[in-house]
């Protein structure tokens, strides 16, 4: 700036600006508020990155130890062993599904009778125990009190008998007799009612009868199961030795870390005496380098045995697949058998590749940093706090989050958009004034309350419904887990419907009425106008609504923590659509659940931060994209 442009150098004049104006003060106040939010956001990002990025070197070291100690070597065999166990379990499930399917009637009858009796004992149990415990001679029963307890018990009993579960597969008479026999039980009777045991026996008998024609299958499964025993014992033998090695290395790592801390303290100490003391201490704590060479050599000597066990297992598996029946009569059993048959070739192919992998494995191959990154992003296991090896692979969590979102969006998109279209285009003013606030009110329900409802009402009801005979064709029914992807998805759908509804309704409302007017003036009906003119014009806004709904779903924590079932495993996709009825864990849920329990600064702690960063990035991207669509609509 040249001197003559600088106002302070000029002579005072008529329009001279004086002092610090009120207006400027107000402007600065708002500017500082806006600035503050930006600074806070920046601080959050910096904090996340600082805590999170330390994860990758830490995880790299863990993976290094995993290799050096030989755990990785053992896992080559263990992986096949697990696959073998899974296949065995699928076959067993198919076998029992076949048997139980064939005697479904007896099974249902037995289940219903014992469910009825169990419901009764659950309700009356506590009061009954009180009566029993206090009527023993040793407890010097007080007659007045005993009378009260007994009355209490009778009351509870009457209440329980009045609210028993339904038994659609028992006849009216059987049900009445069963209830009567329960009613007339002595207080101290511990046996099950005769009818319950009879039905159980009938069921067992039926099972035995149905098992007869399936004997061939049974022995095939058994021989497959025992084909893995050689590998299994080998693995457990090697496991012990590698764990010992790993502990040694970890101990040395800790000592080394302490020494570094001491050295750092020493170089920082001002007093020479103090410094000398710390230095000596550091020197003495110098750990002897743990011997890893010896154990590894011992481990590698197992190579021929491993290869032999794998070859044997492969031969057995190739033989056994030919002995399995091509199909089974019961739907569920046939599905499971098909799943097993489907994964069989992959299993055998893996076994075939294993000897080469065993021979190629080297304990001293380097573990680059990129390995820790790729193992985080594409790892199929999230295992923490175990004594074997911690893995931080986000696929199970990402899969859980994604599948819940799919369920939620599949339910919420049609509902939310449909409601928005209806309310904006077709509803009478009266309907509008009722429906809109109600849908928007859902947003006001705290998510933890929704979680409650999810567990207690929705989960239970859904599970009861899944027991209905007429719904057994639905994959995944009857539900194995009350809390699963589907229940969580339904609740999240409920939470995201208001978001999608409001934003989509806004988008439709923002379409200039000139469009609708022009369309009707051209002879289009109201429905044609809505679907051919208004919705296409609102399309990007509606898309933004869907995206923001997705952002809400994927970022939601409380409901999924309470309702998703929290099993950290990639869902088993062999179940087909039934996959959606399995429990899962999520990106948000894992942070909420584990962050409070992990030691600060540990690799696990940092892993959770990286998950947080990832979530942050995903939600940010979704929102940014949504805003792009909104802006596009304005033009």
């Amino acid at each position: 700036m040249s001197p003559e442009e600088n106002p302070s150098d000029l002579a005072p004049h008529r329009f001279q600006k004086r002092g610090f104006s009120y207006e400027r003060a107000i402007k600065y106040f708002f500017a500082s508020n806006a600035g503050l939010t930006i600074v806070i956001l920046a601080l959050i990002i910096i904090f996340l990155l600082k805590e999170g990025l330390g994860f990758f070197p830490g995880y790299q070291r863990e993976l290094q130890v995993y290799r050096i100690a030989g755990l990785e070597f053992v896992d080559i065999s263990r992986k096949n062993l697990t696959a073998h166990e899974q296949l065995t379990s699928v076959l067993n499930r198919a076998y029992y599904a076949e048997i139980n399917g064939r005697c479904i009637k007896q099974m249902r009858r037995s289940q219903e009778a014992s469910a009825l009796f169990n419901a009764y004992t659950d309700q009356t149990g506590p009061t009954r125990d009180l009566v029993l415990n206090n009527s023993q001679a040793a407890s010097s029963p007080n007659s007045e009190m005993l009378k009260n307890l007994k009355a209490n018990y009778e009351q509870q009993k009457a209440k329980a008998l009045a609210s028993l579960t339904a038994t659609p597969h028992l006849t009216q008479m059987e049900r009445r007799d069963l209830i009567e026999s329960v009613r007339s039980r002595a207080v101290n009777d511990t046996d099950d009612p005769l009818f319950v045991t009879t039905l159980a026996e009938e069921f067992t008998a039926a099972q035995h009868k149905q098992a007869e024609p399936l004997q061939a299958l049974r022995s095939t499964i058994d021989s497959f199961s025992s084909a893995g025993s050689e590998l299994s014992s080998l693995v457990s033998e090697m496991t012990e030795s590698v764990i010992a090695t790993k502990e040694k290395i970890q101990g040395a790592d800790i000592l080394e870390k302490d020494r570094k801390t001491l050295l750092a303290a020493a170089s920082g100490a001002k007093d020479p005496v103090e410094r000398e003391k710390l230095m000596t201490e550091a020197r003495t704590s110098l750990a002897d380098k743990p011997d890893v060479e010896g154990p590894i050599q011992l481990l590698l000597e197992h190579r021929p045995d491993c290869i032999k066990a794998h070859t044997a297992l492969r031969d057995a598996s190739t033989r056994i697949i030919g002995q399995l029946p091509s199909s089974l009569t019961q739907l569920e059993a046939a599905r499971l058998l098909k799943a097993a048959r489907h994964s069989w070739p992959f299993f055998i192919a893996d076994l075939e590749k294993t000897p080469a992998a065993i021979n190629a494995w080297k304990p001293d191959a380097p573990v680059p940093l990129t390995d820790s990154i790729s193992s985080f992003l594409t790892g199929k296991d999230w295992v923490t706090g175990g004594e074997w090896q911690d893995f931080y692979g986000i696929l199970p969590l990402a899969a859980g989050s994604l599948m819940i979102s799919i369920v939620a969006l599949v339910l919420a998109i049609p509902t939310g958009i449909g409601a928005a279209v209806y309310v904006n285009q077709f509803a009478s003013p009266w309907e509008q004034s009722v429906v809109k606030p109600i849908i928007e009110f859902i947003q006001a329900i705290p998510s933890v309350v929704l979680g409650f409802i999810g567990i207690l009402v929705f989960g239970t009801v859904l599970r009861d419904i899944s027991l209905w005979d007429s719904l057994q064709w639905i994959p995944g029914f009857p539900l194995e887990e009350r809390l699963n992807i589907f229940t969580a998805g339904c609740l999240l759908a409920l939470m995201s419907i208001p978001t999608i509804f409001s934003l989509a309704e806004d988008a439709i409302n923002n379409v200039p009425s000139a469009y609708a007017e022009a369309s009707e003036a051209l002879g289009a009906s109201q429905v044609q106008t809505t679907f051919r003119v208004v919705i296409p014009a609102a399309f990007s806004g509606i898309l933004a609504a869907v995206l923001l709904g997705f952002g809400r779903v994927i970022g939601e924590t409380m409901v999924v923590l309470l309702v998703a079932g929290n099993r950290i495993k990639i869902p088993d996709f062999t179940a087909g659509l039934g996959t959606f009825f399995q429990p899962c864990h999520t990106l948000t849920g894992i942070i909420a659940q584990e962050l409070g329990e992990v030691p600060m600064g540990s690799v696990h702690y940092r892993a959770l931060f990286v998950v947080g960063i990832l979530l942050f990035a995903v939600v940010l991207t979704i929102n940014a994209t949504a805003h792009r669509f909104v802006n596009k609509m304005k033009h």
Partner: protein
């Protein structure tokens, strides 16, 4: 006034938006295949009257006919058994602010045909071309029929709206200040177009521009405060008005 057959006959029409009475006892006879202009100061009810003819006012909650009737080719259009879609197919409308849909030029013109269930591509092609030719737009857009309508200039967009309104061969064309949002050159083009279109259509045009009314219309109605003050041939109304209010308005003493 040149007497031909009557396209629209309005008998003692009164119209209200809710409690607000806007038209009072309006009676007019609009001849077929001529251009009739509605003039008058802002807010006098010209658009309201025009919008009664295709009952597009039905969209506005509370808007209702309080007395009188409108006959289009001798049929009372406020009967309960009127098929509104069919009525509007017979009576096209062009609005003050050009408002093509967010679709291609082609899809805009074909809109009314598709809404009427005519979807055969070969038939549509011919009709779209014809409508665009009649709206004097074909040469300017024939190379980009499937480009967005928003890429056109304002005048072109308004002519597209005219093409869209005449694609289904209506009998009557309603135009509510079609040039109000256009520059003089585009206005001129539309005016030229009007003289072509009146050979085929009965045209009713609302305009603020007195010169435009004299240039384009055969008959003119002067409205004031919801009433038709004077109605007659354009020449007579402008050169020899009978009512003092009309005279004041056409000589620019108020408006």
């Amino acid at each position: 006034m040149v007497k031909t057959s009557t396209a629209i006959q309005i008998n003692n029409l009164s119209f209200a938006y809710g409690a607000k009475q806007v038209l009072h006892d309006v009676s007019l006879e609009i001849p077929a295949r001529q251009v009739t202009a509605f003039i008058g100061p802002s807010g006098c009810g010209k658009s309201t009257l025009l919008r009664c003819f295709n009952r597009i006012n039905d969209r506005i909650p509370g808007a209702k006919l309080t007395a009188g009737s409108i006959l289009v080719h001798d049929i009372d259009i406020n009967r309960t058994d009127i098929d509104l879609q069919e009525l509007r197919r017979r009576i096209g409308m062009v609005f003050q602010k050009y408002n093509p849909f967010a679709k291609s030029i082609y899809d805009n013109v074909a809109f009314s045909l598709r809404a009427a269930g005519r979807t055969k591509r070969s038939v549509l092609d011919g009709i779209v071309e014809n409508a665009l030719k009649n709206a004097a737009l074909w040469d300017e857009v024939k190379s980009r029929l499937h480009a967005s309508a928003f890429g056109l200039s304002g005048g072109q967009q308004q002519r597209l709206c005219i093409a869209r309104a005449i694609a289904n061969q209506p009998e009557i064309l309603l135009m509510d200040e079609p040039c109000a949002a256009l520059d003089p050159l585009a206005t001129l083009k539309i005016e030229e177009l009007l003289s072509e279109l009146k050979k085929q259509y009965t045209i009713i045009i609302v305009t603020h521009n007195l010169a435009q009314a004299t240039r384009c219309s055969d008959n003119t109605a002067f409205m004031y405060l919801g009433k038709v003050i004077e109605y007659g041939s354009t020449m007579q109304l402008f050169e020899n008005p009978k009512e003092p209010q009309t005279e004041a308005y056409v000589t620019g003493k108020f408006g």
